[in-house]
């Protein structure tokens, strides 16, 4: 947590430094000039970002007097459109991803927090209807309420997807108790965007401390890999075959190191209940963002999953090197592939028509 806050602060400082304008009018014209417009083969294409964080602060009337008062602090979203302009992103699907509110035991408080997230994201969508869309926050520790709130966020507030973490207070999301949520997401055709938080559900205390930032570098893809593996091996995708789940950071290790998972059930002594091969879920139910950072990493991801399963993601406001250019410059992709990955797939999944 300290690390993430530190990063948010760094990102905010960087953003502030970038936007010191001589005068408001000059700033406006600078913004107008600075919007990068992406074209492929001379044709304007739409760029949509599935992985766009907002550590949204909460108002006093919701968290004052609760153990979550420190959540009143957090960055605003005022500079977000300028960041999108600069990076050539047309639409960001913004989500709140720390999932600290899944620890809240009071049902009313959990509802109020998620409702505030969803209404605030709806307000930003209203302010920038062609630039920002929101993903629903849900209280997954109360699966029935989570299902209701997903419905509400979509029908009343215009949410285009929903976001989850890799575990609910250490419980696997493949447990039957969470089926009401998966059933609702499948029924409503809502994309589920999964974002990890360092494998706190899996690791021994301090196990990934030390040099190299492995708590993030290894811990995040590990949590995503276990989360997706459980949805596969515990039969969640078989129960809800229309479900679409996008794993952050290229879907963790799973698609890039698919071979071992693929042969797991053909080894002796296994009690697999899955109806299809793991690779088939990769090509139908599972999606990954593009955050693998190199040309051969992206080529490999697309080869294992198919073009339809890979979507553009940046991790904004964090400073990972995930520019549009690395998709645009990929020699392994056709122009049509690039267009799909940068925006076409998400236009369908997020129901973006214009």
């Amino acid at each position: 947590m300290a690390t993430r806050r530190h990063f948010l602060k760094t990102a905010a400082l960087a953003a502030a430094a970038m936007s010191v304008p001589p005068s408001p009018s000059a700033s406006a014209s600078q913004a107008a000039q600075a919007r990068r417009q992406i074209t492929i083969g001379g044709r304007r294409v739409r760029v949509i970002d599935v992985h766009n964080h907002w550590d949204m602060p909460l108002p006093a009337e919701i968290v004052k007097g609760t153990p979550y008062e420190e959540r009143m602090k957090g960055p605003g979203l005022d500079d977000r459109v300028a960041i999108l302009d600069k990076q050539g992103i047309d639409i960001a699907a913004v989500s709140v991803n720390d999932f600290w509110w899944w620890e809240v035991k009071d049902r009313g408080l959990a509802r109020a927090i998620c409702n505030y997230h969803n209404e605030t994201l709806a307000a930003w969508n209203k302010k920038h209807p062609d630039r920002l869309v929101g993903m629903a926050s849900i209280p997954l520790q109360f699966p029935d309420l989570a299902a209701d709130m997903l419905q509400d966020a979509v029908t009343r507030l215009g949410a285009r997807a929903v976001t989850v973490g890799g575990h609910v207070n250490n419980e696997s999301l493949s447990l039957p108790k969470f089926d009401p949520f998966w059933a609702k997401a499948a029924e409503m055709g809502q994309l589920v965007f999964m974002h990890p938080n360092g494998s706190a559900n899996l690791l021994r205390e301090g196990a990934l401390a030390g040099n190299g930032g492995l708590g993030n570098i290894v811990g995040n893809p590990l949590e995503t890999t276990v989360f997706l593996s459980r949805l596969i091996f515990d039969g969640t995708f078989d129960r809800f075959p229309t479900l679409k789940v996008c794993g952050a950071h290229g879907g963790g290790f799973l698609p890039s190191y698919l071979g071992r998972t693929e042969v797991a059930c053909i080894r002796p002594g296994q009690k697999c209940i899955i109806k299809r091969k793991p690779s088939e879920y990769m090509r139908q139910n599972i999606l990954a963002d593009t955050m693998v950072f190199t040309e051969d990493g992206l080529r490999h991801l697309v080869a294992e999953m198919g073009v339809s399963q890979v979507v553009y993601g940046t991790d904004i406001p964090f400073n990972w090197p995930a520019p549009v250019d690395y998709v645009l410059d990929a020699k392994s992709l056709s122009n049509a592939d690039k267009e799909q990955i940068l925006g076409g797939n998400l236009m369908t999944l997020l129901r973006i028509t214009s």
Binding site: R230, Y257, V263
Partner: protein, 354 residues
């Protein structure tokens, strides 16, 4: 680790039962030796990843708490039949349970290791053109390990040694283990790393359940962590002559390299000690076996590491898909590349001349 040993032993037994149904080993050996050639040219296939147990250890641990861990079925003529059938010309045997690293009595630890090395040497002597062996060492006593390695090289002509991913939970990048690394580098001995389910990282039972995740995820995770420590803690810089080959395609590290590659740049708490980019170690000091089980997985592994860093491995006698045809059928590899991966790289590293 005990659990892994038990399942390893069970699988060894299963393999024995299965192969017992075959005709006599002699008959199948005579008829069944596969000779691998590429475009009419016979090439030598050398296997880096082959588990072994030797009978010589049992008397040493009799009456100690380790009596049962030394179990498993010792090497015998059935192994010759197996490598004949699979087209392996030279198999480099190693004992990989590392249960003897828990032994606190220095004298007992030494006697176990010397019995293992003697047992391996006894088997190799029977089939000198078909088998080589890797030295076991008592890494819980780093100075002793260095001496054991030196002795095994001098006495038996071993050219490799094998390690796990941690020593009783301790990282092998700790300075206390430098005497071992220094000796391996000095002697030009290849180090083969094999994981044991990431028990140093993963909380008890956190990977239980369907899909065999303790193996399918735990093993590549431990391997990834082990290599990350050697990189980020500067071990590979301290010993630039060191060559470390890791099991199962070296875990996630090469297949999902990019997050590691950007760690020191993006994470301002990463504290990196490495002098070069992670990818540079992957192209020089680190090697991977071919156990990634798909054409695309192997293509990506070779793309990230280079042909010179990928070596053939089977996991004999355990029941994993054999990957020799994966290499032979790879359309994207030249004949010379195929010969290098199947045996040429290891012939050079292990100084096999004939």
């Amino acid at each position: 680790m005990k659990k892994i040993i038990a399942s390893l032993a069970a699988l060894l037994l299963l393999t024995v039962l299965t192969s017992a149904q075959a005709p006599s080993p002699a008959a199948s050996a005579a008829q069944g030796r596969r000779q691998v050639s590429i475009n009419g040219q016979r090439v030598r296939v050398i296997d880096i990843h082959a588990h072994a147990t030797v009978a010589e250890v049992a008397p040493v641990v009799k009456g100690t708490p380790y009596e049962r861990q030394a179990g498993g079925r010792p090497l015998g003529p059935d192994r010759v039949a197996l490598i004949d059938k699979q087209g392996i010309d030279v198999q480099v045997l190693s004992i990989n349970g590392f249960w003897w690293w828990e032994v606190k009595d220095r004298d007992l630890a030494d006697r176990i290791v010397r019995a293992q090395n003697q047992g391996l040497a006894n088997f190799v002597t029977q089939f000198p053109d078909r088998f080589m062996a890797m030295a076991s060492v008592s890494l819980q006593f780093p100075d002793l390990a260095a001496r054991q390695l030196e002795d095994a090289v001098a006495q038996y002509g071993f050219r490799a040694t094998t390690v796990g991913g941690h020593v009783n939970g301790e990282d092998m990048s700790l300075a206390k283990f430098d005497p071992f690394w220094a000796k391996a580098a000095e002697l030009g001995v290849l180090v083969f790393m094999h994981p044991g389910g990431a028990e140093n990282i993963i909380r008890d039972n956190a990977l239980d359940g369907r899909g065999d995740l303790g193996n399918i995820i735990g093993n590549p995770l431990e391997t990834t962590y082990f290599q990350s420590r050697l990189i980020f803690d500067g071990t590979l810089d301290k010993f630039p002559n060191l060559r470390v080959a890791s099991a199962h395609g070296a875990g996630y590290l090469p297949s999902y390299l990019q997050r590691t590659e950007v760690a020191c740049v993006v994470r301002n708490n990463a504290n990196c000690l490495n002098k070069k980019k992670p990818s540079e170690y992957l192209k020089t000091q680190l090697l991977a076996d071919t156990m990634v089980f798909s054409d695309e997985g192997l293509r990506h592994l070779v793309a990230e590491m280079g042909v010179g860093q990928v070596v053939y491995g089977t996991d004999n006698p355990l029941n994993w898909p054999v990957t020799v045809d994966l290499v032979l059928n790879a359309k994207w590899l030249s004949d010379a590349d195929k010969a290098a991966i199947l045996g040429g790289n290891l012939a050079r590293l292990l100084r096999i001349t004939s």
